[in-house]
Structure formats: structure tokens, C-alpha cells
């Protein structure tokens, strides 16, 4: 057990936590926007895995990680466009379509992976890290928090961008109205369908980016089912955080620490099933739901398609 709490170990643990948290953070922020606008985006897992696959393919063939992220985000957005068309525009059941998209894309990416990479299992070179000057030199915290890929800083910055959008822009007002009282938004002259579509597409882009990060930076490789419920965790984070982006960040970090602990304990050779630690974040969330469940108010029109003039 010596060295369990050594500086190096702690730094690795925190570094891993941040790495694990970033996809969750992106997914959670994305889902939050959909939910705010009244769309329960169960398909986010599908958007994530498609982003992960395309992100990897893009980075692998172009050799540019950035191109990979771009393609991944676009991939997530493409899935979101299908979701927006079917659920927002045509008003089909959001849960049915969400599940179908998730299952279908998990299957499709596994299939494509099999034909492309199953013999070679190619890996990407380790991603470049961008240390933040000065901060990166702090012991323990420096290497843990301030020596990451640029996307990590982007994801954290996004939290504040989102806060800004929700609090200070017309778009933020529109999104909230679309979720809480779509008819009021409609008569104010704003297209509810378009507002919700914007939200779903943003969700797709962020989920796709999160997936691409997971594959390209987190793992360096794409394997089938790599997202392993990360999208669903994003839904959980968004629901618990309700409208508050900062809470998504904290939640993602909590999950990240737990996920990172599992790897760390394996490295440290501790003989305890990693499953125990994997359960911790979920346990924490369930306890929070039991304690604060009554207050977990969701947008009034969540999950309901909007049809003008219908009661």
C-alpha cells in the first residue's frame, strides 16, 4: 500500500478524473440544453458513439486530431439532425426514437469497426498536451489539472459560455420558454420548432465532440461500445443539475474521480473489484434523488412535441 497517496499517484488520479470527466461534461452540457428546450434526448448515447467513431476515423486517416474532433462533432450533429427531424418536427415519441438511435448506432459503429479495424486495432499517438503557463508548475495540481489537451480547457470554458447563454442572451430566454411554455414562445413570434432544433443540434455536436475526445484522447483507440453509458450519464447529470451548467461540471468531476479511482486502484494492485467503486457515483446520485427528488422539477413540456394550436 505504500505510495498509494504519493504525489505522483494523486496527480495521476486527478489527471485521470479530468480525462474521464470531459466526455461526461460535454454530454451533460449538451443534454442540458435539449432538456431546457423541452426535448428529452435519450438518443445522446448514439450521438456520442457516432462522434467517437467518426472522430477516430477522421483523426486516424487525416492524422490531425483537430480534424477528428471536427468530424466527430459533425457526426453527433448528423444523428441529432435525424432526432430533430423525427421528434421535434414530426413529433414522434422521443423515447422510442432515442432508444432506436442509440441501439442502431452502437450496432452500426461496431459493424464498421469490425470491417475496418478489427484486424489491426490501430491506435492514435498520444495527444499533445497544452500546459497552462505557471499553473502547470504547481505541484500535484499542476500536472493533474493544467496539463491537458486543449479540448479539456474548451469544455470547461463551455460551462461559462453556457451560463452566459442562459443568463444573458435572447437564446437563453427562448430555450427556457420552449421547455416551460412553448405556446408562449410561439405567440411571442419565435419558432418553437426551430429553437428546439437548435438545442438538439447543439446537443449532438457536444455529444459527438465528447465521444471523439473519449476515443482520441481518453483511449487513443476506438472500440465498439466505447461510450459504455457515458451518454446516459450525461442525461443523469443534466437532470440533476437542472438548468445550472456549473452543477454539470461538479457532477462530471465526481463521476470522473470515481471512474479514475477504478483504474488507479487496479494500478495500485488493490484487490477489490472495480465495480464497487463504479457504483459510488450512481449511489451518490440515487441518495441525492431520495433526498431532493421532490425538488427536481423538470421543464413542464419536457418530452412533449409542440403542435401549434393544439391544446
Amino acid at each position: 500500500m505504500t505510495g498509494l497517496f504519493s504525489e505522483v499517484f494523486l496527480a495521476a488520479l486527478l489527471f485521470g478524473a479530468v480525462t474521464a470527466a470531459v466526455p461526461l461534461l460535454l454530454a451533460g452540457l449538451g443534454e442540458q440544453m435539449s432538456e431546457k428546450a423541452g426535448v428529452l434526448n435519450i438518443g445522446i448515447e448514439g450521438m456520442m458513439i457516432f462522434g467517437a467513431y467518426l472522430g477516430f476515423v477522421g483523426a486516424y486517416y487525416s492524422g490531425s486530431l483537430w480534424l477528428g474532433f471536427l468530424v466527430g462533432a459533425l457526426g453527433g450533429m448528423a444523428v441529432a439532425a435525424v432526432m430533430a427531424l423525427l421528434c421535434v418536427r414530426l413529433g414522434l415519441n422521443q423515447i422510442v426514437i432515442g432508444i432506436a438511435l442509440t441501439l442502431g448506432l452502437e450496432g452500426l459503429t461496431a459493424l464498421l469497426h469490425h470491417f475496418q479495424f478489427s484486424r489491426s486495432y490501430p491506435r492514435l499517438p498520444a495527444a499533445d498536451k497544452t500546459p497552462i503557463p505557471l499553473l502547470a508548475d504547481i505541484p500535484v495540481l499542476g500536472p493533474a489539472l493544467f496539463q491537458h489537451h486543449l479540448v479539456v480547457y474548451f469544455a470547461v470554458a463551455l460551462v461559462f459560455v453556457m451560463i452566459c447563454i442562459y443568463r444573458r442572451t435572447q437564446l437563453g430566454l427562448n430555450l427556457q420558454a420552449a421547455g416551460d411554455k412553448p405556446a408562449a414562445l410561439d405567440v411571442a413570434g419565435i419558432d418553437v420548432i426551430r429553437t428546439r432544433t437548435i438545442a438538439v443540434l447543439t446537443t449532438g455536436a457536444l455529444a459527438g465532440l465528447g465521444g471523439a475526445y473519449l476515443a482520441n484522447v481518453g483511449a487513443g483507440i476506438f472500440i465498439p461500445f466505447i461510450t459504455n453509458g457515458a451518454g446516459f450519464l450525461g442525461i443523469v447529470l443534466a437532470m440533476l443539475a437542472r438548468g445550472r451548467p456549473l452543477w454539470v461540471l461538479f457532477g462530471a468531476l465526481l463521476f470522473g474521480v470515481c471512474l479514475s479511482l477504478t483504474t488507479a486502484m487496479q494500478v495500485a494492485g488493490i484487490n477489490m473489484p472495480t465495480d464497487v467503486i463504479q457504483m459510488l457515483p450512481f449511489l451518490a446520485v440515487m441518495i441525492m434523488l431520495v433526498l431532493f427528488g421532490r425538488k427536481a422539477s423538470l421543464p413542464a413540456a419536457l418530452g412533449l412535441p409542440y403542435e401549434r394550436g393544439a391544446r
Binding site: I97, G107, H114, D275
Partner: protein, 364 residues
């Protein structure tokens, strides 16, 4: 608007009504087969894109999953847990509760059965040991659904989220139980003790088909009859179709909610038990076939009708057994089944939308 019109319902895939005329049946048949054909074509294009002849693939799947004697027996055996899961989902979905936690409930039921079965056969008659294992699996799965049920019934917490959480928790817990509590000391593979083949559920006649199939069929038919023929089932349907009408009619919605979760999860637990006691014999660490997720689309496709669900579960079984075979022989991973199923589901939703709006314009 104070104009009396039919309430606009744009939601596709509503539960099928108990009544339905003959013309309705034909329409429904077209509405079901059309999307399936469309999906086969689209999925075929995907196969073409990866360089596989779709006709060869489909032919092979049908040959191995349906036509070959061994294949069809495997298919029918595979149906058992899927039927239980479908039965559980029908109860929940018809009552308007989105129990997406089937996989966690399934695994915990499986682990309970795997722990109890080999232990109990040592000093109980086999049949009694199996019954006890089934009961234990049911009880554990029911217990696992209690928290989401209570939260939904009394706090109004969305059950999608809680059941998903509980399924993640349940999957991990099942692994913990396998690795820590019920580990078989006699092998190096992390798994529970194995139920001897002769103590498992009997096979049907001279085949390799597990009698779990019969149990599964009984379960889903019973659930169908319960939902369509009994006062209890009708109450659940009222809760699902219009919760406010349920309150207005004096139904005890919280109690019914808890009952729905208990039945749904109990059936998922039974699914786990029937798979272990009939086929697997033990639970290996990290085993998660994710049957529940795959069955959800089938239940939607069947529009929550029990008899139709039997057909779709059979189809899923053919596709998965055939698909697993094809994975070995044609090199197409069995994940293709997932792709096919989800395309069918999306096509169906779209077809229903078109149908709905076609009817709407025709009425005007």
C-alpha cells in the same frame, strides 16, 4: 380554443386498443410488414457498403436461425428470457411507466438464481430448489425496482432516469456479487458455481429446447390476458393513458405504480433466472447480454400487444441466433442485428406518422 375537436395526438406507437375491426387488421399488417421490408432494404445497403451480399447474409441468417434443426432449437431456447422481459415491459409501458432498468433487474435475478440454484439442489428436491431459485430471483429484482417505484409514486421523480441509474448500479452490483460473494472456488474463471446440467430446467421432448420457453410463453400470455381482460389490467391502462382520469376515477395511483414496477421487475428477474437455470448454469463475471435493451424495440413494434410480442421476440431470436452464426461464418458481427432492429423501429414510427396524417387529412 373552445372548438371541440379530436385531441391531436402526434405520438406514434401508442398501445394497441383492445378492439379492432377486420379492415384495421389488414391495415395494421401492412403497417407492420411495410416498415420491416423498408428496413431490410436499408440495412441491406449498409451490408453492401461493407462488401457483404445482403441476400447471402439474410439467407444465411434464416437458414441458421430458422431452418436448420439445431438453429431453430437454439432460437426457441433463446426466446425464454426475452419473453419474460417483453412481458415485464408490456406491463410497464402500458401503464405509462418507462422501466428502462430491465438489464439491471435481469442480471440481479440471474445472479440470485445462480447463487441459490447450485446451493439449494444439495439438500432439496430439484424441482423445489428451482422453484425457490425462481422466487428468490423475482423477489430480488422486485426489491431493486422499489426505489424508482417509490420515487415515482410519491415524489414524482422521472422513472427513466432512476431506472437507468439502477440498471448501472445493478450491473455493477451483480459483478460484485459474482466476484466477492458467490465466486466458485473450484475454477480460476471468475464465475458462480455451476448448476449441473441434469438439475437444470428439463428440455422439451427429445430436443435441446429448454422448457423455459413454455414458461416464457405462459408468462407473456398471462400478462396479455391480465392487461386486456381484468379489472387490474384496465386500471393500469387507465393510469398509462390518462393519469388524471385515473385520479378522477378514484384509482390509487401510487399503489398501482408500485405494483407495476414490482411486476415488471419481477418478470425481468424471472427472465434472468430462466436463462441461468435453463441454459447458462452459472453467471460469469462481466456477463451482460443486454437483452432488455434489445427487447424494448420489439415491445414497441408489437404495440405492447402480448401475442404480437411473441412474434417479434421470435424474430429477434432468429436474428440474434442467425446473426451470431453469421458472425462466425460470414464475418459480419452480430451487432448488425441491432442496426436492423433499430432501423425497423424508426421506419415503423415514420410509417405510423404518415398513416396518422393520411387519416387526418382524409377525415377533414
Amino acid at each position: 380554443m373552445s372548438v371541440e375537436t379530436t385531441p391531436a395526438s402526434a405520438t406514434a406507437l401508442e398501445p394497441s386498443l383492445p378492439e379492432g375491426g377486420r379492415g384495421d387488421l389488414v391495415r395494421r399488417l401492412v403497417m407492420t410488414l411495410g416498415p420491416i421490408l423498408a428496413a431490410l432494404v436499408i440495412a441491406g445497403c449498409i451490408l453492401l457498403a461493407v462488401g457483404v451480399n445482403p441476400l447471402t447474409y439474410y439467407g444465411f441468417v434464416i437458414e441458421r436461425g430458422l431452418l436448420s434443426p439445431l438453429g431453430v432449437q437454439q432460437t426457441l431456447t433463446r426466446m425464454a428470457p426475452l419473453l419474460f422481459l417483453a412481458a415485464g415491459l408490456i406491463v410497464a409501458f402500458r401503464a405509462g411507466m418507462w422501466n428502462l432498468g430491465g438489464d439491471g433487474q435481469f442480471l440481479l435475478g440471474a445472479v440470485s438464481a445462480a447463487a441459490a440454484g447450485p446451493f439449494l439442489v444439495q439438500f432439496l428436491p430439484v424441482w423445489l430448489a428451482l422453484v425457490c431459485a425462481f422466487l428468490l430471483a423475482t423477489a430480488v429484482a422486485m426489491l431493486w425496482s422499489l426505489l424508482p417505484a417509490l420515487l415515482r409514486a410519491y415524489q414524482g421523480v422521472n422513472e427513466i432516469i432512476t431506472t437507468l441509474m439502477m440498471t448501472f448500479l445493478g450491473t455493477s452490483l451483480a459483478n460484485v456479487l459474482v466476484k466477492l460473494a458467490f465466486l466458485d472456488p473450484s475454477t480460476t474463471v471468475p464465475q458462480t458455481r455451476t448448476l449441473p446440467v441434469e438439475d437444470r430446467l428439463p428440455r422439451l421432448f427429445d430436443t435441446t429446447i429448454s422448457s423455459g420457453l413454455v414458461l416464457g410463453l405462459v408468462a407473456i400470455v398471462a400478462v396479455h390476458l391480465m392487461m386486456t381482460r381484468t379489472a387490474f389490467g384496465l386500471k393500469l391502462q387507465v393510469v398509462g393513458a390518462n393519469p388524471r382520469a385515473a385520479v378522477h376515477s378514484g384509482l390509487g395511483v401510487p399503489t398501482l405504480t408500485i405494483a407495476v414496477f414490482a411486476i415488471s421487475a419481477g418478470l425481468a428477474g424471472l427472465a434472468g433466472a430462466v436463462d441461468i437455470l435453463g441454459v447458462q448454469g452459472n453467471v460469469r463475471a462481466d456477463w451482460n447480454p443486454a437483452y432488455a435493451m434489445a427487447v424494448i424495440p420489439m415491445v414497441f413494434l408489437a404495440r405492447m400487444n402480448g401475442f404480437a410480442a411473441i412474434g417479434f421476440v421470435f424474430l429477434l431470436s432468429v436474428l440474434s441466433i442467425g446473426g451470431e452464426s453469421a458472425a462466425r461464418r460470414l464475418g459480419v458481427p452480430h451487432h448488425f442485428t441491432l442496426v436492423l432492429v433499430s432501423i425497423v423501429l424508426i421506419m415503423l414510427a415514420v410509417a405510423e406518422y404518415i398513416d396518422h396524417h393520411f387519416i387526418k387529412t382524409r377525415r377533414v
